[in-house]
């Protein structure tokens, strides 16, 4: 037995699911703003999963495991092909993103007319089948809170890429530095990935605070906005 689990919770003007079902099993009561409702009889064709722009529908396959310990859940997936975790164990989540448990990606389905979306078949414990709405594509990294000294209001960090504090810039200005290229060389503001997109203006303000007239300052090399890419990306893949 197969059926869709429709997690459509907002009354928005949307109804591709209605038209997608060859058996007209998905309907809306009043208007395009109503929430979809499903009536029994699903063929398991997966049209609705493929078409729902909100990625709101999963299909649950009940007859997957004769022992009834596992079930199969079909989920839409829109990341690049290389990231499909085929054959991998993944951490499954519910609608809110809370962890449900573990699942295993056992198959991938594509449809030529649908450009980027893939449908992943994930094997999950029977008890999870109605809850599972998604999974993590990598381990969650929460980062670390800023340490207290990094939040120092008295001596703030001016260049975040290189973590250069105001006091270091003031010190160099007082040593006589007027060329912002030399300021970069000696204290490293603007030497990070962004190339000075944020700190340049702040540094100019610090020069002003220090009473240095604009005519004395040499502006830094103006760089386009760039993204750092891997060395390996410059090499033709065999």
């Amino acid at each position: 037995m197969v059926y869709p689990v429709i997690r459509c919770v907002q009354e928005i003007p949307c109804d591709p699911c209605v038209g997608s079902c060859p058996k007209n099993l998905i309907t809306m009561k009043d208007s395009i703003l109503s929430l979809p409702e499903y009536t029994e009889g699903c063929l398991g064709c997966s049209s609705c999963v493929m078409l729902c722009p909100g990625l709101a529908i999963t299909l649950v396959f009940n007859n997957y495991d004769p022992n009834k310990e596992k079930a199969l859940v079909m989920m839409p997936f829109e990341f690049v092909n290389e990231t499909v975790p085929l054959g991998c164990e993944v951490t499954t989540t519910d609608l809110e993103g809370n962890v449900v448990g573990k699942g295993k990606v056992v198959a991938v389905k594509t449809k030529e007319s649908v450009d980027k979306r893939r449908l992943l078949l994930v094997e999950v414990p029977e008890k999870d089948k109605l809850l599972v709405a998604g999974f993590h594509i990598r381990d969650i990294y929460h980062g670390e809170p800023l340490t207290e000294d990094m939040q120092d209001e008295e001596d703030p960090i001016i260049c975040r890429c290189e973590r250069v504090r105001k006091s270091e810039i003031v010190r160099e200005i007082r040593m006589g530095v007027r060329d912002m290229n030399q300021l970069k060389a000696v204290a490293r503001p603007s030497m990070g990935g962004c190339g000075g997109k944020t700190c340049t203006d702040i540094i100019l303000k610090i020069f002003k605070e220090e009473g240095v007239p604009m005519e004395e300052i040499t502006l830094p090399t103006n760089r386009p906005l760039v993204a750092e890419i891997h060395l390996g990306d410059f090499v033709k893949k065999k």
Binding site: M175, V177, R178, D179, N181, Q182, K184, A185, V186, G193, G195, T218, R223, V226, E228, I229, H230, L231, G232, F234, V235, K236
Partner: protein, 387 residues
Amino acid sequence: MNNYDAIIIGAGSVGTPTAHFLSQKGLKVLVLEMRAASGQGDNKAAIGGVRATHSDPGKIQTCIESLKIFSTWEEEYGFDMGWKPGGYCFPVYEEKTEEVLKGLLPTQKNYGLKIDWINKHKVAEIVPGINTENLRGGTYSPEDGQVSTLLAPIGFQREAQKNGAVFQFNEKVIKYELKNNKLTSVITDKKKYSAGVVILANGADAAEHGPLLGMDIPVVPDTHEAGISAPVKQFLAPLIVDLRSGPEGKTTNFYFGQNREGQIIFCYTPKELFIGTDRESQSEFMPIIANRMISLIPRLQNLLIRRVWRGCYPMTPDGVPIIDFAPEIDGLFLAVGMCGQGFMLWPGAGKNIASLIVDKKPIISEEANNFFRYDRDFYAAKKEALK
């Protein structure tokens, strides 16, 4: 007011250490620099490798001096120049390179360089992740190292200023006055100055001053490209030089290392030189060097590349700098044509010329010093084995 003991033209790799050593000897020094600060010319294009691993005595001795100065600078003067010890390693994959490098060892050792041939396993140990297929071993000179080219000129400048040296920025030397073959004054776009000795240290622009002085200064710049990655955890202590020609037919060798910030900084020598001073980056650089680096150390493919740039090697016909009094002009000292090694040769050379100018004798051997003379035959067939 505008009279000095010494005027240095150019505050680059050469000019700033020279200012330091001359002012340390008590000379009243003026440095004239057309750019807005020290070290902003081709100095900052250099990747900062400092090696005494050369094939000729002049360079070996001078760079041993440089290494002493760089490695003790912070201790001595309290300014961090980004010194990172770790040596130089030339991994070798070809028999003929092995022969050449092994052949150099006796001379190198004779002039005081700590260097040896190491086997393939030792190379793999100091260059983690290196491709060991066909690797024969290599040379390793543990006392070489690297320095930040961004910091060094600032360190030299500040120390020179403490000794009274004056730095004038945004001021370009445009003319000279000579009387009876004596250089009497230096004229900038702002002022006129005079000095007992004028040291020409203007890097890639040296040849342009030939006609102004009425002499030939055989310096022709060609350009080299370099790049730097985002920082990664320290894993590579030595600088690496791979002397093989690249399979793409565009490179003769390439070199790279990890600086103190953890960034990998890299460069190659093009097979066909790009003569001139056009410093625009070219699109072929990254694909070529990426191939070379990844085939040498595959794990480097994961580096994130941050920036690329291009700068000049101020070349002489024989690839050896000119560090000498101008023979026909009294009061002019030439410190030009630094080729690809201007950063590492000075401070050693700066200390040497301070001694030449003030004490009338070199600190390196006479023989080694002769190597840099202006009156040598620039077109003699002899070629340096290690450029």
